[in-house]
Symmetry: C2
Subunit: 316 residues, 2 copies
């Protein structure tokens, strides 16, 4: 998918982010801006703007809320990297590696504050509720690391909260600011939730196979950290005997060596877990597309349809 | 001052806090509730309710926003304790000591999210701007620890942001939700800002002299950590020669022994710095009382006047 066509929207988003993150002490604001400069797909604010357009609204009505959502996303990345002890993010050292943990905690808190300064008052509850659920999802994710078995249902609930609710908030808030048609707002919320779940399942696949340089973090780091991805859950479910025991051993140990990671990846593949997860992600994409199928035709609707497909086709 | 008269208000606040902090995962919600159970003065939500009453408003109109302010306050305590490596808070092990750092970061983030779920939409910007300034103030405070000299002006700017703006937000938001008289809202904002500054100066004095058991944290810990309090700043300014050098040495070193802490306290006293700070705190209290002097007489106004005095008389 060619994102160049959204260049004007990305520029508006970028300018608003910069405007929001000017202040003193300089070190704190530098830390807050750091990841926003390091790239990132900006897919959440884009979805917010497109959802607004798709229901007949104007970009300017949703722009500040779109930026607020990107700030919340960035805040969660900074705090998650501290908790997960991830040293790389978007190909650069993570914020706590660069500015120290204390300033990183504060930089996240500042982004969170700025998000609520920017957000349209009509969308505050959507963003606040999503933020609370993100915290719940991250706590679930961390607790999974200490467990041998996690079910698919538990995993889906975790990524719904950790990843999908913010994407849902983006499309729901965008639609809310563009229209008062409750049915259409609900449809866009449903769309966002489903592509959000597909996005995370695909992200877990990328985390195992993608090119380290493109991904901006070490390949296989989820395995090293004992993250319970849907791939891992399914592979354990499908394997038997020695292979299952060996995989469990690798996944429940932290700090695996390269050959152990390679074996885990081989077992993921051989068990059919990868195939299963790819199909699952596509299933959620189809639900997302179905949710907005009845919307009036528009360029924005077409873009949302294409982005849904892109979510599971992207290489990064 | 007898706070028992506010018992019904404290009960309402307490119930609302409990209602707001029910959820799953249990461990995360336990961590979020932990400090709210450990006591705390609840002076911010009380001030919010009294400010609302003082301009003719109803308690129920400000109650949820008052609770939102207490949640923001609790969130900042949890994150500050992580940054400052404080192991005790309100006489109990701090949240990160009890639940680990990751869950403590998340518990703070969750409280922040819940605050914006609860807050009246008219008061969102006040709370969001205050939160951003609190982050700026904490970053200033941390940066002071690495500096030999800090001026009184810099210190006052730091505590304005770190402590006073949230107390200001409490009285300003309370007034806003009780009246549309802009002048009265401004007066209550001014009141909150000034008692907030007095509160922090007095807190620094308590941190040096108060009884360890009452304070709930080790006496002299500010000196151990090299915190630049107004007392320290003034003492350095007033002392000369060997005494000044010795004090600078103690204040710029972390992990002082008990006899060094005792010497610092003696120098604080002998230099007249304590006397100066007590007078300064009273000066801000007088400004606070003057700000609301012109408000119509009411029980709430009388309470606000008494609380202003209490701020610099309290032993805890």
């Amino acid at each position: 998918m060619d994102f160049n066509k959204f260049e004007d929207k990305f520029r508006m988003i970028h300018e608003k982010i910069n405007d929001a993150l000017i202040g003193e002490p300089k070190r704190l604001y530098d830390a807050s801006r750091y990841l926003t400069k390091a790239g990132g797909k900006r897919i959440r604010p884009l979805l917010c703007l497109l959802a607004c357009k798709a229901v007949g609204g104007k970009i300017k009505d949703a722009l500040e809320t779109a930026v607020a959502i990107e700030l919340i996303h960035t805040f969660t990345l900074i705090h998650d990297d501290i908790m997960d002890k991830d040293e790389l993010r978007r190909g650069v050292p993570s914020v706590h590696k660069t500015y120290g943990e204390s300033t990183a905690i504060l930089a996240g808190d500042l982004l969170f504050s700025k998000a609520f300064e920017l957000c349209d008052s009509r969308a505050i509850k959507i963003l606040a509720e999503a933020s609370a659920e993100i915290c719940e999802g991250q706590e679930m994710d961390m607790s999974f690391e200490n467990r041998t078995y996690v079910t698919e249902r538990e995993y889906l609930e975790m990524i719904r909260k950790k990843t999908a609710v913010l994407i849902k908030a983006a499309t729901q808030a965008g639609a809310l600011l563009g229209s008062d048609n409750k049915e259409e707002i609900d449809r866009l919320a449903e769309y966002g939730l489903n592509i959000g779940i597909a996005f995370q399942i695909h992200d877990d696949i990328l985390g195992i196979f993608a090119d380290e340089e493109k991904l901006g973090k070490p390949v296989g780091s989820d395995i090293v950290e004992g993250k319970k991805s849907l791939i891992a859950i399914k592979a354990i479910e499908k394997l038997e005997g020695k292979e299952k025991d060996r995989l469990l051993e690798i996944l429940n140990k932290k700090g695996n060596a390269r050959d152990e990671i390679n074996l885990a990846v081989k077992l993921f593949r051989d068990s059919g877990a990868i195939r299963y997860c790819k199909a699952k992600a596509i299933q959620f994409v189809e639900m997302a597309k179905k949710a907005i199928n009845e919307l009036p035709e528009s360029d924005a609707k077409k873009d949302l349809m294409r982005i849904a497909d892109f979510v599971v086709e992207r290489k990064i």
